[in-house]
Symmetry: D2
Subunit: 283 residues, 4 copies
Amino acid sequence: MNTAILLLDCPDRKGIVASVANFLYGHNANIIHADQHRDDGLGLFFMRVEWALDDFALSLGEFAAAFAPLAREFGMRWRVEDSSRPLRVALFVSRYLHCLTDLLHRHQTGELPCVLALIVSNHPDAEPLARFYEVPFHHIAVDPARKEAAETAQLDLLAAHEVDLVVLARYMQVLSPRFVAAYPQSIINVHHSFLPAFSGARPYHAAYARGVKLIGATSHYVTEVLDDGPIIEQDVTRISHRDRLEDLIQKGRDLERMVLSRAVRWHLEHRILCYANKTVVFD
Amino acid sequence: MNTAILLLDCPDRKGIVASVANFLYGHNANIIHADQHRDDGLGLFFMRVEWALDDFALSLGEFAAAFAPLAREFGMRWRVEDSSRPLRVALFVSRYLHCLTDLLHRHQTGELPCVLALIVSNHPDAEPLARFYEVPFHHIAVDPARKEAAETAQLDLLAAHEVDLVVLARYMQVLSPRFVAAYPQSIINVHHSFLPAFSGARPYHAAYARGVKLIGATSHYVTEVLDDGPIIEQDVTRISHRDRLEDLIQKGRDLERMVLSRAVRWHLEHRILCYANKTVVFD
Amino acid sequence: MNTAILLLDCPDRKGIVASVANFLYGHNANIIHADQHRDDGLGLFFMRVEWALDDFALSLGEFAAAFAPLAREFGMRWRVEDSSRPLRVALFVSRYLHCLTDLLHRHQTGELPCVLALIVSNHPDAEPLARFYEVPFHHIAVDPARKEAAETAQLDLLAAHEVDLVVLARYMQVLSPRFVAAYPQSIINVHHSFLPAFSGARPYHAAYARGVKLIGATSHYVTEVLDDGPIIEQDVTRISHRDRLEDLIQKGRDLERMVLSRAVRWHLEHRILCYANKTVVFD
Amino acid sequence: MNTAILLLDCPDRKGIVASVANFLYGHNANIIHADQHRDDGLGLFFMRVEWALDDFALSLGEFAAAFAPLAREFGMRWRVEDSSRPLRVALFVSRYLHCLTDLLHRHQTGELPCVLALIVSNHPDAEPLARFYEVPFHHIAVDPARKEAAETAQLDLLAAHEVDLVVLARYMQVLSPRFVAAYPQSIINVHHSFLPAFSGARPYHAAYARGVKLIGATSHYVTEVLDDGPIIEQDVTRISHRDRLEDLIQKGRDLERMVLSRAVRWHLEHRILCYANKTVVFD
């Protein structure tokens, strides 16, 4: 079933829901899901509405013009998404392949409604896997001294493949502000700790040294500040004194796969709104 | 802040949200929360809306007459609740006092927006606790041969105290169909297993014998069929071969307290709708 | 590091630990792990000891004769395993490939210390995956009318490949008592429910109909009674009224992968002892 | 059943288990539990053994002299505890009473094998609760300008009551190094975050601001460095964008009660060994 998804946020006031519902109903929309959120402290309103396109009286091309007066009246930031146009995704990976393997399998199973446009890696290790799942693979070595050139090559590839979302599936290079700025709220990373604990390098080592009783993983949008972007999903698992560092790493792999794949799916389903360096994840 | 809560369900069709939102907006409601659910298989629509009563143009006494035409048009079952009128609750308990202690403390802390009208027990053990928290205590012994008389005394007490909700906080007697029928979807029980596993008596013994690796607890509305009513909340905790039966019982107590107190709070906040022997719990 | 693992159980009495520790120390064992368990109700004692073989004065061939007097004295059932001889594993699968994919990837990553001897399926779907991971694939169609012949072919294959462990990675056929008897406590299945709830066919459908708030998965040894063997591992995840049947199935896949892979790893590491239709899992 | 518990650690080498087991067996001990741990990185060995005192040939008064040669040979740090002598505990609390209520109820239920010697508070709020559970209550106001005097009064009380363990059950004052030094590894605190994230003041506010998807609580031994002592137990619960700050605080209360009560119980059962600013918790 083809659907459209409207995501909006605006200052909170009376009548928003009635106005949006009337607008959609007035154009014969059959609403399938609707969810909303209020941040009382900030006085903000957030909404996600999904409706079937079958009987809808507007084409999505006409939507903007028709919706503009209402959006203006309430001061909305908004966008409308077409579920029949799946996002185009680039997967970035280094040498640990567990997240990549997981995403490729989930895509094959139908869990991730997207086009896997390409895989980019600074190592050749993932190439056989890419070939098995028939996703174009591009090896771009990242020489520390020539990182800017590597990023330029990456950005050219992303542009050529019309990529909407970049997923860092254990990609072990820090992206430059230039790269991040090119894909605002469109780069998802997985960090192998329960952020904000153990940000930065070698979080499992740090967790082991601190003697925590749970380890975690975090998926988040990438911003200019390392490991500081809006958190999309987190999960933890129990460890004990019996777990050596390698056990933490092994248990952590499962966490990383779970939190990254959920974040990617929610992004692809247009469930996430960002504000105040946080996320609203509509379920 | 005084609020009203509208809960409704009806066959799903276009325009419900717009109509309800218009109705409320037309009477100057300031919507604070709104949530909805569709059961696609059964073609049903469910909605919970909460709004501030400050500027609302209708009194709740006038609401029914004003809302009736719309409700009729869509074939709605509905009710409206006034958050300034807390429900009146009876707590039933036998000899295990952990759930009772927990509910009393949560009520004192402000977690449970209700009036604790009375405590009823077939044993005297809870009386000092009831006195400490200043809740009227009634000891009604339940002689198996004269169970009907005991229930009559209980029902008289509930009527006299105008009780809205009965909470079975480890009350170890099975209620008769007559009792259950008097409080439809208004009796909450906690069963010390992950239902439908280990229904009936001595679930921890059964779980221990089966060698499960997680134990659970379930809160549910009581219906005529034992342990079969709509499930409100469940939770589990991990056990291992090291846990003896008494460890299961001890770990289970924490589960029982959590799932029962959550169910009671959600009921008090008018978050639960029942259908098809299931619950919708709006969050 | 090559190690030996001694697993034993016997009636509980004084001196077992001292005797075993003395025996091993007397032959210059460097104990790496030791764990024990008592079932007070049944009066049984269980032990797992792992030691480095470097300085050990006995070959594992000589072990049985040397250990026999002590084992006889305490009435022990025991076995000794050589970690340098990884078990040989057969993976059985039907059309859902998520557990198989997961096990193959974990094996490649080094999480599962075993030889993947072969993959057996009643469908051809898994063949490309088997080829990618370079595991021999055997398609044996299971015609209901000729099931015995199919099982004979399977058993012949298992014998030819000297298989120690059969893993049913969502293999949708019930094994005959003859098959089960050939691999006692050596067939691990994953059932997609929190057993004993929802045993038998279509557990996600049953869970959806019952309206549970958590779904689960269970890995267990296969016995003659369907879904009734000793439970090795279980896990659950939260669902809500928003989750449709297909969401349960999707969330369940992650549970199935986790509980099956953990059970397989623990079996491969010789951590599991069975008694009274339960498991002791030494960690 | 009266039991003795031996806790020891020493450099790892061959023969420790055999020597300890022989020593105990030689004095006719009936071992009930035994657990051990090796830290391979640091080359350390840890052990906890519990045995029934019925047939034991030594009194605990004689134990030290008898065990000394063996302890010396292996360079052990060790202590032996008598389960028939429950520890004497002081509960410190400020104005939030949920942890205190929980501990008092658990003690009454028999979950916490100890003597509740006294409750100390810088506020009078807990007095009625203390009286109900019949635990001596001492109100010692803590004037910031005269904190040292208040601590002296507290220390005098602890000495007079022969207190073994101090539990900070949401006690909102930072203890001085002098106080901490007086009770090494004998002060347990609960911090309302998943340490090391959000150490210091107002962790729920910080968690809310950061937009985490799980909140946690941590129980730990108090050391001179704030929120930095050895972690005993941690747990987390899921939150979403729907949870306001007050929801975090409410959900967090349940976490705090769980992680604090578990830590206290494990300490009382002599299950915890500290090293390298971490804990080994024998289960």
